[in-house]
Symmetry: C2
Subunit: 242 residues, 2 copies
DNA sequence: CCCATCTGCGTATGTCCTACGCAGCTGAGC
DNA sequence: GCTCAGCTGCGTAGGACATACGCAGATGGG
């Protein structure tokens, strides 16, 4: 096992063997990844360069490449580490899924760069799989099929990621908007070009709300819809369709 | 009006005045943006450099800067143009929203780079606002408040963007996975570390489905939840809560 | 006819990532 | 205790990239 695996996965799963001979490493992968996460959290992903990371670590830029194959691999390690452990879920599928997806959203708000570092590959990191596993566990006592559980956990994940991608990155940037967003919007939106939008703005109910609203409102609807499916399945037990 | 606006917005809304004196431009903003979109669609956002774009256009790299302030501005123009016109919606809020969000997802699959080019700013481009307006119009004949409509349209948008961000970028890359994803997954997922995940894999219902499933399943649940809200509001008309 | 003004672009700078290879340290084997 | 394989840290250099600055030529208003 683990012979033809790409190096990145070997390291992630701890399969990589440790060398015996050689000097004591002053750098460690953990320290590199932790410092890289720190920089990305504080100054954004664009500010994370190998040179700046080395400077913060007190070593030469090329030293990093002894522990990391390239910058993309570093980003994979960061994505694996940053989320930490998934939360312990309360009993009941609804409370469980809410706890899970709110915690996930919290992680994305704390580390907005996760959404900018695209994986380009299905999740195989232990960190990602731990979260996925915990999310699935919320449906443990429901009559849903495994495929349905997976699809619904993913739907909740999409909601959190989609919202965070728009709002978290927005909050992390400098608020250099010269004018208020609502004012600027009202300046462009005319009833002939954008009728529905103009109506909403005229009602004074747009652009002013906290960004929390759309996530929580959407999540509540999604959960209501799932509840409908679960109760329908409970009333009529039988061979679960795939 | 339009005096203290940033240059990018002036150009987007066609407020920029045209010069009279000077040579006939051989380059145009439209041609630059269209070619840039072409490159990003075909080879990904990473392959879009000012040098490559200029080469494709048959001009020198620095010529582009007469029409575009910098690369970030070019990305804003691309994001404004690529989505095109939003679809005409069928009557009925449910059919309307489904049509809208499926079309939105189609745009994201056709231009995956849209999700990698972060805005870092609330949407003010006419292209984005046109889609938002069309989405809001789906709820025209419902008893929902304007704030609720906005939140629900955004929830659908989050679902589409979240799903596309994971799956569309995945499809655009080369399928260089040496092993099947399911095989690779089964190799790492053990029942002691990931109990729920292992159970799903043992049931053979994970990792094999089309990526369509999770989007459509989640969307159906979200719509069911919205329907619940609307029928409840219809049965009990009164002063709409904000 | 003149020149203000605009377009296209050549040059150069600073910032990236990273391939390559060297010097010094360390501990396994004898 | 000696030797040296193999490892660590890193200096140098090359290639790609965005873009500031300023110049030559074209063009049309007065």
């Amino acid at each position: 096992m683990a012979s033809d695996l790409p190096r990145t996965l070997k390291v992630l799963w701890g399969v990589a063997e440790r060398p015996a001979r050689g000097p004591q490493p002053t750098l460690s992968l953990d320290r590199i990844v932790a410092t890289a996460i720190e920089i990305a959290d504080r100054d954004g992903l664009a500010a994370l360069s190998m040179a700046r990371l080395a400077e913060r670590l007190g070593c030469a830029p090329m030293s990093l490449y002894r522990h990391v194959a390239n910058k993309d691999e570093l980003l994979v390690f960061m994505q694996n580490t940053a989320p930490g452990e998934p939360p312990v879920l309360p009993p009941g599928w609804r409370d469980g899924l809410v706890t899970w997806v709110r915690a996930l959203r919290g992680v994305l708000y704390a580390h907005p760069w996760i959404l900018q570092a695209t994986a380009g590959r299905p999740p195989l990191e232990p960190g990602q799989l731990a979260w996925l596993d915990r999310g699935l566990s919320a449906f443990r006592d429901t009559p849903l099929s495994h495929r349905e559980r997976g699809d619904l956990v993913l739907a909740a994940l999409y909601l959190a990621r989609g919202e965070a991608h728009i709002n978290a990155v927005l909050l992390s940037g400098p608020p250099d908007v010269t004018e208020d967003y609502g004012t600027l919007l009202a300046r462009f939106v005319t009833a002939d070009r954008f009728p529905a939008l103009a109506e909403a703005i005229a009602a004074g109910e747009f652009g002013g709300g906290e960004p929390d609203n759309s996530f929580e409102i959407g999540l509540a609807r999604l959960l209501d819809g799932i509840e409908l499916l679960i109760t329908a399945r409970e009333d009529q037990p039988g061979p679960q369709p795939a």
